[in-house]
Amino acid sequence: MPYLNITEVESALTSLATAYPTTSHLLTLPEPSIEGRTAHALQIGAPAGTPRACVMMIGGVHAREWGSCEILVHLAADLLEAHQNGTGLGYGGTTFTADQVGGLLQRLDLVFFPLVNPDGRLHSQTVDPMWRKNRDPANSGGSADPNCVGVDLNRNYDFLFDFATAFAPTATPQVSASPCDPQVYAGPSAFSEPETRNVRWLLDQYPRTGWFVDVHSYSEDMLYNWGDDDNQSIDPTMNFGNAQYDGKRGLPGDVAYAEYIPKTDADNAALLAERFCQGVGGVRGRPYKPLTGFHLYPTSGTSDDYVFSRHFVDGDQGKVLGFTVEWGTAFHPPWAEMRNIVLDVDAGLVAFCLATT
């Protein structure tokens, strides 16, 4: 079975929703992509009378990281089929019992949004395989340079979006304000893109979301908050919202700034990332590592830090721990290897979900 094209990602979700009407629900995202494509998400869970905690998983954000969509579509399919038939799941050496699968779908809503950036995936799969951004031409200024099309969606969320102010002059954030940056243009403003607004909308629909996983490639890591600087759990005033620290963020190992994370959150995030990696490792021994998102250089505008920051910006918002999977060791592994990676990562995600409390 080769990689899914963009039609197939969407039809896979529709097909699952049709086949499992009591345990899944198809959601239509409100904003079409720049090229007019409507995206869908799939909520799965056993019928429940009361709201449940939710794990949200998104993929297909960076166009060239194709396998992210397959990871989420196959995971949803595995869970729905196993739940319906009362079976467990086997991913190589990592296995889950029928009781574990059943318990998962009783306890949690799982929301899968496997293809956030359909225009970009189409371009990558048919024109330029290394394409990363969406296909928004609005900021190109009429330039004929093909690099001037598109925004890096995982720099477009509202977290330290004004990176030039937030970070130290000597920091090396992987982000750009230049519309013609071929990879990491953040866009003219936070949430300028329909694709990121769709993710925000989905979060707003599930206020009981406690965990958010954005599936990317590559490096065989499971990243958790924060990505803008080292973590610290001592000084709550030293945080992303405090302008006093503008110009000081983003340097590794210094004392000028480290991002505040409550110790219980740091411990929980580290534990969940570790459980994910253990689940992966049991399949065929791939050594995924749990790490914070900050490692040598900072990031801004990413989904994982945005979802976690919402609670600190607005105390009425539930707390959402943010994670980024970086699967594999290449953007486009041959399908025979991608199939193995799907098994690795899906085992890790089931282990991750089981560890949520």
Binding site: M1, P2, Y3, L4, N5, T7, E8, S11, A12, T14, S15, L16, T18, A19, R64, W66, V73, H74, L75, A76, A77, D78, L79, E81, A82, N85, G86, T87, G88, L89, G90, Y91, T95, T97, A98, Q125, T126, D128, P129, M130, T172, Q174, D181, P182, Q183, Y218, S219, D221, P252, L291, L296, Y297, E326, A330, F331, H332, P334, W335, L343, D346
Partner: protein, 109 residues
């Protein structure tokens, strides 16, 4: 009327392993050349630090400097084009009974 100028051919993107003698040297390189990076920085057993960079073949020389070694891993454009041949055509889930099954083994009990 003159013929329109042809679009210049795009250079292939090479996958390179850039290894610096230390973190400061790598950060300086990333700041100055802003290459497309893949994966995360990796600390070698001898303390050097490396990262994958994706660079058009005509820009590889721009990465080379004191304290930095550049190794060609492969041709990313070529690998991508090969992968494009593995993308599905049509819609394998269009038939009413064509439901995705996932890749896990379904284990009794």
């Amino acid at each position: 009327m003159s013929a329109p100028s042809p679009t210049p051919p795009r250079h292939d993107i090479l996958r390179l392993r850039v290894t610096a003698k230390d973190a400061d040297t790598l950060l300086a390189l990333l700041r100055e050349t802003r290459p497309d990076t893949g994966g995360r920085p990796h600390v070698e057993p001898d303390g050097r630090i490396s990262i994958d960079a994706y660079v058009p073949d005509d820009r590889v020389a721009g990465l080379e400097r004191e304290g930095v070694s550049v190794t060609r891993i492969g041709n990313a454009s070529e690998a991508g084009r090969a992968a494009q041949a593995e993308v599905g055509t049509g819609d394998r889930f269009a038939p009413a009974d064509a439901v995705p099954h996932g890749l896990a083994a379904k284990l009794a009990g």
